[in-house]
């Protein structure tokens, strides 16, 4: 088949029967990148079993075409099978740019396919843009996000990139968008024997308020201590937020699970308010929170690097401040509730 001039592809990822948010976020970016080339279109690649109904979602979020690889052998996700099918599809259709979510699966799949095609792949991008020469600039973090570097892929095609979830905004759903669904029937060679076998996929129920969607994030580090950790949970509860943590707090076992980890090897959060407690400010943590709205940090050391990425730096012992803060917040809420008339709901108050 012919080369698809400037086509920008997004490799969709599914979680159960749903599309991962990052896939939709990438479709918005794909449209922006495709707009630089006359006649270029966006396409999504959807691989799995009994997933055809998701094609409409991809179109509604920005895909002009959807390559549908619906094959029982493609579910559950298995690196070798997905990589084989995708490599074949790319060779046949020759897109210019291929974008993946930098999830565990997306990172593994993108690296595998890049090696099969011997092409360039930029990992965990935090920005993608076209420069004045028309080259794609892929901005990647290094040294835990202390440094950002531009990566180019001048010759090899397709150029490929993985992008962390939560970097690009999710485009609005447009039910009126139309697109073409292209069914790929022989996605895998009939006689291919996989050397691997995925026995079981286990998924926990994600928390009711996932960290990356919480309006307030209360993050704790080494300075919180084991005995103070439950106060973070209480504080987040009072503020209607979620608890995040640094690597040392996770390694100590204070944080409930890796889902709470913020930073280069964890989540990227950008809440309205980030309240960091006992966090020194290691770059691999701050890379995951630097785009938050208002940033407050409590640290004993006025020279702590974390104050370099803060709007407000409370200098003091987190172990002493934390219980007092919780007390004052409860006191304040108590006053507000006492003022509230029993049957008039409190309307949202603006800034004072």
């Amino acid at each position: 088949m012919s080369e698809q001039l400037g086509a920008v592809w997004v490799i969709a990822e599914t979680s159960g029967s749903k599309l991962a948010a990052v896939s939709l976020e990438l479709l918005g970016k794909a449209r922006e990148l495709a707009a630089y080339k006359e006649g270029a279109f966006t396409a999504a690649v959807l691989m799995g079993s009994a997933i055809a109904s998701l094609a409409e979602e991809l179109i509604a979020h920005g895909a002009d075409r959807v390559f549908l690889l619906d094959d029982p052998r493609l579910a559950p996700y298995q690196n070798d099978l997905h990589a084989l099918a995708l490599t074949d599809l790319i060779k046949n259709h020759r897109p210019e740019t291929v974008l993946f979510g930098a999830s565990y699966r997306g990172s593994e799949l993108s690296a595998t396919v890049a090696a099969k095609l011997e092409t360039g792949l930029a990992a965990h991008c935090v920005d993608l843009r076209i420069d004045h020469r028309g080259e794609l600039v892929q901005v990647v973090p290094a040294f835990g996000g202390t440094v950002l570097g531009d990566i180019f892929c001048p010759v090899s095609r397709p150029r490929m990139a993985s992008v962390k979830p939560g970097i690009f905004p999710q485009p609005a759903r447009d039910a009126g968008r139309t697109g073409e669904v292209i069914k790929i029937t022989a996605a895998l060679p009939r006689d291919y024997q996989s050397p691997l076998k995925a026995l079981r996929v286990f998924r926990r129920q994600p928390p009711a308020l996932p960290l990356e969607k919480a309006p307030t994030v209360v993050a704790g580090g080494w300075g919180v201590g084991a005995e103070g950790w439950h106060l973070l949970e209480e504080l987040a509860g009072e503020l209607g937020g979620a608890v995040g943590c640094t690597r040392p707090a996770l390694d100590e076992g204070w944080a409930s699970s890796e889902d709470a980890l913020i930073g280069t090897s964890g989540k990227t959060v950008r809440p309205q308010v980030y309240l960091g407690i006992g966090i020194s400010g290691a770059a691999h943590h701050t890379a995951g929170m630097k785009d938050s709205g208002v940033v407050i940090n409590i640290n004993l050391d006025p020279g702590a690097p974390v104050f370099g990425v803060s709007d407000y730096g409370a200098v003091g012992d987190a172990k002493k401040i934390l219980p007092l803060l919780l007390e004052k917040i409860r006191e304040h809420k108590g006053e507000i509730n006492a003022l509230r008339k029993p049957d008039t709901p409190l309307t949202r108050r603006g800034k004072n």
């Binding site: 690196n79 565990y104 011997e118 440094v147 892929c153 090897s265 309240l275 407000y312 007092l324």
Partner: protein
């Protein structure tokens, strides 16, 4: 059961906040930051040492790095690896992950006789997590990354890999290339006896010629991706310090939370 462990020396992640970019030369300033074995690679070495205890054989360390990496490889030998081979050549400099995997694969094929290749799931400095998959492809072996669990009943491997909010259990067969995650184990400490023993373990260096790679296939020249400018992330924040007694500070934080609209 012969196991290769690929390791990479990286600047100590505990010092990354000290790394700056020179405003004119745009080069990295990382003076005084000590090198360590990439943390996840230590988990890979620990996994290999445990498998050797279970199934016998030997553990060979390999690394593609500048000549001073010999010191870090000696540390790995002191941890318990049997021998180490450093792939080092000016022609390897500036490699992206594909060009790195090419050198590692060529070296590992030349040594030969491995049943299993382990490496860290990701490096602390560039953090791409590409190497386990790309090395697997270039070896022509099956591969998985982000392993948190590994159980071997020769030649069958039971493996657990991480996904968001969960995991996948796999079954595979040797040989394989596996990327080991940080939480899979706790690397052992180096003993004094280990340090002494490391002095008598073989540590070799191979360059482009020994690996019989075509010139132009390695380093920056052999890399499909090319680096451009480095820049610092933009924070654009000017910190206002909140000071005083703990109770005063707590009061000030409440005021900030209210002004920000998360506390009515």
């Amino acid at each position: 059961m012969n196991i290769a462990v690929c390791v990479k020396p990286v600047p100590d992640p505990n010092h990354y906040h000290k790394i700056t970019i020179h405003p004119e030369t745009k080069l990295l300033a990382r003076k005084g930051i000590p090198a360590v074995i990439n943390p996840a690679d230590k988990n890979a070495l620990e996994a290999a040492l445990q498998l050797r205890e279970q199934a016998g054989g030997k553990v060979v360390l390999v690394s593609m790095a500048p000549p001073d990496a010999r010191e870090k490889l000696t540390e790995g030998l002191a941890m318990g690896a049997d021998e180490a081979i450093l792939f080092s050549d000016r022609a390897f400099a500036g490699a992206d992950t594909l060009a790195t995997a090419r050198v590692l694969a060529a070296g590992l094929k030349k040594i030969g006789g491995f049943d299993l290749i382990l490496t860290g799931a990701e490096s602390a400095d560039s953090g791409t997590s590409h190497i386990p998959s790309q090395l697997g492809e270039l070896m022509g072996w099956p591969h998985l990354n982000h392993l948190t669990g590994l159980n071997l009943q020769v030649p069958v491997l039971k493996m657990t890999t991480k996904i968001e909010y969960g995991y996948i259990e796999y079954e595979g067969r040797l040989p394989m290339v596996l990327g080991i995650a940080r939480e899979s184990n706790t690397p052992r400490y180096i003993s004094l006896m280990g340090v002494v023993a490391a002095r008598n373990k073989p540590l070799t260096t191979w360059g482009l010629n020994e690996l019989q790679l075509a010139s132009g296939s390695t380093g920056l020249a052999g890399s499909p991706t090319q680096p451009g400018d480095l820049h610092p992330p933009r924070h654009g924040r000017q910190v206002e310090l909140l000071e005083g007694e703990p109770a005063d500070i707590a009061g000030k934080i409440v005021a900030v939370l209210r002004a920000a609209g998360v506390l009515v």
